[in-house]
Amino acid sequence: MKTLSDKKFSGKWLRRALAAGIFALVVLVVVMMENNILFARNRYIYVLLCYIGIYSIATSGLDVLFGYAGQISFGHAGFFCIGAYGSVLLSHSEWGVAKLGITPLPPILSIPLMGLVAALIGALLSKPASKLVFHFLSLLTIAFNQIMYLVVANFPGLTNGFIGITRVPPVKLQLFGATLLDFTAVKSKYSYVFLVMAVLAALLILKQNIVRSKLGRSMIAIRENQTAANGCGVNIMRAKTVSFAISAFYVGIAGGLLAHMVGFISPDTFVQNTSVIFITMLLFGGSGNMTGPILGALVITFVQESFQSLQDYRMLIYGTFLLAVILYQPAGLVGLGRSISGMFGGKGGANRGAA
């Protein structure tokens, strides 16, 4: 008994030390970046990190739905769209609420607000599909994605149509009129990346807590066997709807962050292909865990950026990736890592799997 608890104790401390080490490393890198020691000449890396962070948030959200609850959405670009356009219309000084004569909200409030709105719409959308055969959810989400795209493309009075909205206000943390923190993408050495990383960390902790709660466990039960879950007293409709709402919240936040980072939005970002890219990132990294979505977002973003000259081949590459992963490695990169460490007799065997 004593040895067991000792083992647990040391394992816990090892993990804490590891986490502290990673944190220290991140802080070190950040400090070096701030003082122009690292990446001083290559500011591009900050933009890339922002993209990776934002896509990690979106993919992690999709993972709650797909990796844990076993439901699929082909329309998460629609929630991306709600987050981005909603936040811009709430905070812009010329468009949206400003046109109605209402004082625009600061972006730091409008982003989370639109995340909640996306969650609400997600709940309303998935409620009717949750009692139907699984593929109705995919149909409904495709239709939803199309409708959102048509809305932002066809109402020039509201969204300026295909031309898009420029001069999106930057994110600032203000208190009583004094600017405490300025996350302007251009000034202050791309400090936006810290905001994105902070939001990502907070949302990952939230995800970990959701997954380990009763709700998370019932999601996994639904994924494994819906009939058995029903027999064990899981409220299937409720769990499906809530998981959809949570994932919509994550993707909505990511959309808001993207809009305020780039400073420009147009309907082209929110086409069906974007939803496919989210799914590719998720499956490529590995679904149903914490690291998979981040790994997927990282690798796919790098692939996208390093093959910039092959822009035309982009979707072909994604499609091939997706098919190869589905056919040969459904657990993604994380699964690949686990099976390799399993080969060397590591502890992280396959049965640590989805939890």
Partner: protein, 293 residues
């Protein structure tokens, strides 16, 4: 009156095209229980193959049509043989099979873009004398009439194939109960593979029929696919006759709204009607079986 007839014919043409795709969805869903997202891009690919044979290599139209249908049959069959069947054999979750069809669809679309470029291609008229025909006060182009007639013929042919031939009967048996069908000596794998092939052939036929009225481009399939999904859902997903009824309904609705209300909102109305059907009557017009558990 003249406008009414023109709009009616236009709606029927669209409805028939959607119907060819929706039939493919329903056939595959019936035979294998999976959704298939490739139909729209198979339509586009079939149209491009016909374009390559007929326009680029100037092969006579009938041979070019037959050639493209045969090629598309094998494309559909190979998709089932090398992707879907492998996943089913590995006992993958339903979601992965659907995702695989999405991946295939993306690959087909972008492969077509690489092969034939991203410009729109003009597909010439099938008739040496393309002057329109007069029906009462209205004039209708020959392509439109051909599209309607051929689509209806194909649907009738499919009906007889499924109900009167031995192979069709075994396909329906395999769709109802795979285990029982294989006990009766039916090769279930072959019938499912053939179903995918037939669905691809229907899509290709639809593509060749619309090619002269629309331009051929690598994005031809996406819009048509989404609309025919709406048709399949409204008719009752997985119901073969429902797919035709729903698609004709969507085609007519779209054209009438476009002509008499506003062409800007026709897409909204189509998708809105689809969402309403899903929420209020998911069984569709023909009472498909859609409730789980």
């Amino acid at each position: 009156m003249q406008m009414l007839i023109n709009v009616l014919i236009g709606g029927l043409v669209l409805g028939c095209t959607y119907g060819m795709l929706a039939l493919g969805y329903s056939l595959i869903y019936q035979a294998s229980g999976y959704m298939n997202f490739t139909q729209g891009n198979l339509l586009m690919f079939g149209a491009f193959i016909a374009y390559q044979l007929y326009v680029v290599w100037s092969i006579p139209f009938i041979i070019a049509l037959a050639g493209s249908l045969i090629v598309m049959f094998f494309v559909g069959w190979m998709m089932e043989r090398f992707v879907i069947r492998r996943l089913v054999r590995k006992k993958a979750q339903n979601v992965y099979v659907v995702l695989a069809t999405i991946a295939l669809s993306t690959i087909v679309e972008n492969a077509a873009m690489l092969i034939w470029g991203s410009n729109m291609k003009y597909f010439p008229s099938l008739y040496s004398n393309p002057s329109p025909i007069k029906i009462g006060p209205a004039t209708v182009s020959k392509e439109q009439l051909t599209c309607i007639v051929v689509a209806l013929l194909a649907m009738l042919l499919l009906h007889f194939f499924l109900n009167k031939t031995k192979f069709g009967t075994s396909m329906r048996a395999a769709a109802q109960n795979k285990m029982a069908a294989s006990c009766m000596g039916i090769n279930v794998n072959t019938t499912i593979g053939t179903t995918y092939g037939i669905a691809a052939v229907l899509a290709c036929l639809g593509g060749v029929l619309v090619a002269p009225t629309m331009y051929v481009s690598y994005q031809l399939g996406n819009n048509l696919a989404a609309k025919s999904f709406a048709g399949a859902v409204i008719g009752g997903y997985g119901h073969i006759y429902g797919a035709i009824i729903g698609s004709l309904f969507i085609g007519l609705l779209e054209t009438f709204v476009g002509a008499y209300v506003s062409s800007a909102y026709k897409e909204f109305i189509v998708y809105g009607v689809m969402v309403l059907f899903m929420v209020l009557r998911p069984r569709g017009i023909c009472n498909a079986n859609v409730y789980s558990v």
